[in-house]
Symmetry: D2
Subunit: 97 residues, 4 copies
């Protein structure tokens, strides 16, 4: 569970309304079984590095058949032996405010 | 309110524990009066473009005096006439699941 | 000169051909007088933090009048007292290969 | 060859001098056989999506044994049927200046 990721992925050839495509991606993430959290600018995932990267690829492949151009932005924060990072990272900051 | 942003900013010369620095940044964001949301991989802000960029600069300046190296990652999604994007973007996707 | 940045900015409401908009942005960067380098995935800038942020804002404002939705991605690597980072960072890695 | 990527990956637990770690990553990219280009803020790669993602994972695994915390930032621009994107994207903009 030591990998936290944030993924944004969307088509560039479908105009400005992107939520139908984002919804397809979220369904892939839900099917992966990984812990996740929707945020206003992307979706956070948590798992082992290899699982997270597999899920990112599955998200791409769900859009690929219908999109001519796709933009993907991924940030990963790996920390050895971290558990429950989705909650713990925010709490760790909140406790210091 | 048409600008949504996600900001991550942290020192690279202070070792692997970053939450004390993130907390300083969040206090700057709180003082800005902008709507914001803490997420596991960054902080989302909402406001007019110029306000958001001013706040990003204020966040940098609070870390600058004590850090030799700083990494900043900013994503912006500007959409004309959008209001309440922090909530509305997530809802727009959730409604399609 | 201690701030290196990489900027990607493009409209989301204009279809998949983005180079006309990227060219407008590059002209703003050229007019700024900052050192810059075009790369396949963005444009690298170097200058003082405040100058870089002012130029990023100028780039946004050149697109804003004609775009309903704009995506901006910015990474900054600030390092105290660095000079000539655009060249020196790549050389520093190349020397170790 | 329709996938262009930009990868930045570095440890967060090793202090502010990162070029030794970046050099290890570049050696992995060189060994992959993919077209690549070093830039001041990351390394651009070009290939098929699956190859690019495999190489990104190989880069992570070369750092993982010696790092307690790793930050990775990846941007991907996929465009159907594009060839030679590393050169063509920059040329396409330069021609419009």
């Amino acid at each position: 569970m030591s990998t936290l990721a944030e993924l944004s992925i969307f088509p560039l050839d479908k105009g400005e309304s992107l939520s139908p495509y984002v919804a397809k991606v979220i369904k892939v993430i839900q099917a992966s079984g990984l812990a996740y959290e929707l945020t206003p600018m992307g979706t956070c995932l948590e798992g082992e590095f290899t699982q997270v990267m597999q899920t990112v690829q599955d998200c791409f492949h769900v859009l690929e058949p219908e999109c001519k151009r796709i933009y993907l932005s991924l940030k990963i924060d790996y920390r050895q032996n971290r558990t429950n990072g989705l909650k713990q990272k925010v709490e760790s900051v909140t406790n210091k405010l």
